[in-house]
Symmetry: C2
Subunit: 214 residues, 2 copies
């Protein structure tokens, strides 16, 4: 479905695309219709040459001396990232982080529907968070059998995470978004993103040290 | 302080270091003393040549045919990332995400002390979360004047985020960790990390589409 892509795109490029898309979203809202790689560079901080190279991976968006059409580029990046369709998600672990995710209303606007949460705590089971029901973790297997879920989100502690991943995979999810503090590997064919919030904190302290030499 | 570094290290390398460190931590706990770049490659998924190149940025850790000393490499990476010292942090915004951060006990073990939180909601002000007091946002300026804070964490909505950033900078923080859904830029000399949880979700859907072609 993602036509015009030239061979394999590097992971680094993929991870820069959301940033481009946010910037383009802001430009659209400001009524900007065209933008050059130089102007994008000033806004995003990547070099103009890197921007041209990144975007060229997906077929020539820009025309020499004419710049990029903001709306087309925004839509094309969304299409590349799979944001032109809808996903059903479940979150396992209804603690603070799970609650933060389900409370982030934007996900729904972007096509990500969190349809159920699961937890082991009796005081959470049977409640709902931002209109999303919290079920018992013991119901997860059956729920996944009865409902087609695209993405499983793991917001448990690291101890429980491998079992949760196995259940999600057995239940037919197509991708896993893992926030447990452990690097999981899913079986071949099931993409998995390990999110470590502390990684960005460690990059921050690296730059702080260099910025404030003692 | 970070001796032996060869010129400017690329941002991509910096962002891979926490991953190396987590892997080395696991190896230490398993009693492994030495590891080759090939073995690290099998565990982490980067190529052995990339691993050697990455680690070579900080002075030769490994010796040909001998591998890396797990503990030394772990400690050296911690030193490079500034994890051999302590940081005092405040969190502005005591909602679910702020609560998730303050409840993550590991930060303290790693030298990150969250000493106060600030919010505008009367029902939160005066409470404490995981033993961390929640003060009124109106007290932030004074608190920062009276306490030396290293890192300010923004867990507010995007509308409030620029003002919060300005207050944190005026109050003397040395770095900012921003979770508000907007890309902030701090003044020169104040490193700032914009964390967008949805970026990893967008990478996930990219890989899901390619993994499950329709």
């Amino acid at each position: 479905m993602a036509g015009k892509e030239k061979g394999k795109i590097s992971d680094a490029v993929i991870r820069r695309l959301p940033r481009y898309r946010r910037c383009l979203d802001g430009l659209m809202k400001a009524g900007v219709e065209r933008i050059s790689s130089g102007e994008l560079s000033a806004m995003i901080g990547y070099t103009a040459s890197q921007i041209r190279q990144d975007l060229n991976n997906f077929g020539g968006f820009g025309q020499q001396g004419y710049g990029y059409n903001v709306k087309s580029l925004y839509e094309r990046i969304g299409e590349i990232l799979g944001l032109d369709r809808e996903y059903k998600m479940v979150i396992v672990g209804a603690g603070n982080l799970g609650s933060a995710l389900v409370n982030y209303a934007k996900y729904q606007k972007w096509g990500f529907y969190i349809v159920a949460m699961f937890d082991v705590l009796p005081e959470l089971i049977g409640t709902s968070i931002n209109d999303t029901p919290v079920y018992s973790y013991t119901q997860l297997d059956q729920y996944l059998q009865e409902n087609k879920i695209d993405i499983g989100v793991i917001c448990t502690g690291k101890g429980a995470a491998p079992e949760v991943m196995d259940k999600l995979v057995a239940g037919g999810v197509k991708g896993i978004w893992n926030f447990a503090a452990t690097d999981l590997s899913a079986p071949e064919g099931i993409p998995l993103e390990n999110v470590h919030l502390s990684d960005s904190l460690n990059a921050l302290t690296y730059y702080m040290l260099r910025s404030n030499p003692e």
